[in-house]
C-alpha cells in the first residue's frame, strides 16, 4: 500500500502527460491537411523561410506525437530490457536528429520575440544535452545518471502539455495573451528542470538522513545492543 502511494505522483504525471499528448496530437492533425491552414499557421505567416518553417513544424509535431519517451520509463518497458534499449535508441535518434533541430528552426520565428526564442532554445539545449548524457550513461551501465538525464528529457517534453494547460488557464483569468505566452513557456521550462533536480536529490539521498543515522548509532540502547552483540560470541567462547 505504501509503495502504491509512493509511486502515485509518478503514475499521475505519466497518465496526465499521455492524456495531454493525445489532445495535442488530435489538435495537430490539422497541420497535415495541406488544403487548409490551421489557426497557428495563419497567425504566424508570413515567415522568412516559409517552406522550411512549415516542414519543421510538421516534423516537430509528428515526432512529438509519438509517446515513446513517456512509455520508456514505465515498469512494463523497463522490465523488457532489450525492447527498452531498442525503443530508447529510436527515441534518441528521433529526438536528437528530428525533434530538437526542427524545434530550433521554429524557435527563431516564435511569437513573443527574443524572450520566447531563448526560452525554446534553453529547453532544446536541456533536451539535447541530457539525451546525450543519458545515452552515454546507459552505455556505461550508469543507471543512476541515465535515469537522472532521462528525467530531464521527459520533463522538458512535458512542457508541451503543461505550457498549453497554463495558456488555457491564463486565458480563463483574462491575462493578455502575449504576457501569458511568455509566462506559460518560461514557467514550465524552469519548473520542470527544478522538479527533476529535487526528485533526483530525493532518490539519490539515502532513505535515512546522516544526522538520524548518527543519532541512532550513538543512542544508549543502540550502543548496548552493539556491546551485547560483541560480547555474546566471547561469552560463548568462554563456555
Amino acid at each position: 500500500m505504501r509503495r502504491f502511494f509512493a509511486h502515485l505522483p509518478g503514475r499521475f504525471f505519466l497518465v496526465a502527460m499521455l492524456v495531454g499528448s493525445a489532445f495535442i496530437a488530435a489538435s495537430s492533425l490539422a497541420y497535415f491537411d495541406f488544403e487548409t491552414l490551421p489557426a497557428f499557421v495563419v497567425e504566424k505567416l508570413p515567415v522568412r523561410f516559409e517552406a522550411l518553417w512549415l516542414a519543421s513544424l510538421r516534423v516537430h509535431v509528428a515526432v512529438a506525437s509519438l509517446p515513446l519517451c513517456l512509455l520508456l520509463p514505465t515498469p512494463a518497458l523497463q522490465r523488457r530490457r532489450a525492447l527498452h534499449r531498442w525503443l530508447g535508441r529510436v527515441s534518441g535518434v528521433l529526438v536528437l536528429f528530428a525533434l530538437v533541430p526542427s524545434g530550433i528552426v521554429l524557435a527563431f520565428d516564435a511569437k513573443g520575440g527574443a524572450v520566447v526564442t531563448v526560452g525554446f532554445l534553453v529547453s532544446a539545449a536541456i533536451v539535447a544535452s541530457f539525451m546525450v548524457r543519458g545515452v552515454t550513461a546507459a552505455r556505461r551501465g550508469d543507471v543512476v545518471l541515465h535515469r537522472h538525464a532521462m528525467r530531464h528529457v521527459v520533463a522538458q517534453m512535458s512542457v508541451a502539455v503543461t505550457s498549453r494547460v497554463l495558456l488555457l488557464g491564463l486565458d480563463a483569468v483574462g491575462i493578455d495573451p502575449d504576457v501569458a505566452y511568455v509566462v506559460a513557456l518560461w514557467g514550465p521550462v524552469l519548473a520542470s528542470a527544478a522538479v527533476v533536480e529535487l526528485v533526483s536529490l530525493r532518490s539519490i539521498r539515502p532513505a535515512v538522513p546522516l544526522t538520524e543515522r548518527t543519532r541512532r548509532a550513538f543512542y544508549p540502547l543502540a550502543l548496548l545492543v552493539r556491546v551485547r552483540s560483541l560480547a555474546r560470541p566471547l561469552v560463548r567462547l568462554g563456555r
Binding site: 487548409t36 489557426a39 497557428f40 495563419v42 497567425e43 493578455d176
Partner: protein, 134 residues
C-alpha cells in the same frame, strides 16, 4: 422641367438604406468576424486564444479608388482579451462593388478567407489608393 422629372424618379438611396460605413461594417461582421468566431475554439494549441470580443471600425465615410479604379473602404478590427482593447488587430478593406474583403498580413493584402484557413496568396494592388495627382 428635367429637375422636376428627376424628382419624381424614386431614389436608389432610400432613407432605410445603410450608409457606406454601415454597409462596410455589416459586410465585415458577416464576412469575417462571425465566421472567425464560429471557427475559433479553445484547443490544446499554441495558437492565440480567441478574443472575448471583436469590434469593427470603418475608417472612411466615402470610398477610395484603387489602381484598377475599384472603390473600397478601409476597416480595422479591434479585439479585447481581458479588460483592455487592442486596436488594429486586423486591418483590411472592403470593396463596395463586389463586397470582397481583403486583410493585411505582413506587408501584403490577402483575401479575408486566409484568416479562415484558406491558403490564399497575396493580391497585388488591392486596398491601395491611387496616389493623388497634384
Amino acid at each position: 422641367m428635367c429637375a422636376f422629372a428627376l424628382s419624381l424618379v424614386p431614389s436608389f438611396a432610400s432613407a432605410d438604406e445603410p450608409s457606406l460605413a454601415e454597409w462596410a461594417q455589416r459586410r465585415v461582421e458577416d464576412g469575417l468576424v462571425k465566421p472567425l468566431a464560429e471557427l475559433e475554439g479553445h484547443r490544446m494549441s499554441r495558437a492565440r486564444p480567441p478574443p472575448r470580443e471583436r469590434h469593427v471600425r470603418v475608417l472612411q465615410t466615402s470610398a477610395t479608388l484603387d489602381k484598377g479604379g475599384h472603390p473600397f473602404v478601409s476597416f480595422a478590427v479591434d479585439v479585447r482579451f481581458g479588460s483592455e482593447w487592442r486596436e488594429n488587430d486586423i486591418v483590411g478593406c472592403a470593396y463596395t462593388g463586389s463586397g470582397d474583403l481583403y486583410v493585411k498580413k505582413g506587408d501584403a493584402y490577402r483575401p479575408a478567407s486566409f484568416l479562415l484557413g484558406k491558403n490564399e496568396e497575396p493580391v497585388a494592388g488591392v486596398c491601395e489608393a491611387v496616389p493623388a495627382r497634384s
